[in-house]
Symmetry: C2
């Protein structure tokens, strides 16, 4: 049915899945890495940096912004994006808790 049954999972599980989903496309990974690398803010030259069309990049930026991982500032005709540090840390906490589950306890397969 193509529709994830979110209501049968915990808020935490859904939150992890939402963050993970936004990282689930290399273009968005690339955008974020670039925003980290260029530590001054970056405008739509992401379109040149990455090889995708302008509407495509704009759409990916929208998703990242919607989740709160980046924020954008209008500067004349262009828009300047950067990592939202506060929310990035919140996301990192949630994801790390999931990734760092204690593996030493777990026994090997039967």
């Amino acid at each position: 049915m193509g529709l994830a049954k979110t209501e049968m999972f915990t808020d935490q599980q859904n939150k992890i899945a939402l963050f993970a989903k936004v990282f689930g496309h290399p273009a968005r990974v690339s955008i974020l890495q670039h925003l980290f690398k260029i530590d001054s803010c970056v405008c739509g030259d992401l379109v040149n940096e990455i090889g995708l069309a302008q509407p495509t990049i704009s759409q990916h930026l929208k998703e990242l912004k919607h989740l709160g991982l980046i924020k954008g500032n209008v500067e004349g005709t262009s828009v300047c994006y950067c990592i939202d540090k506060e929310n990035w840390i919140v996301m990192k906490t949630i994801m790390s808790e999931f990734l760092n589950q204690d593996i030493t306890k777990t026994q090997d397969c039967c």
Copy 2:
């Protein structure tokens, strides 16, 4: 077009996206958390634990197995799954590098 243009990104970026994508559904998050919690191995009672139909769970398990994050052992008529520790650590390294990019360097928005 519904088709991610993976060829224009680095192997690392695609790898991050692939791992993230598999975490991008709460059912798979839930399966993994359960396999961590029940530190002895777990069979298809994941179907009871989570509320999805047997073919659906089987499909999610297949994706997790395909990425190497879990492994399955046949035990009579049932199959016992567990976390693949070695690959989990590899995944964790790749994801952590991405999540732990130095945020202190980054300036705020313009």
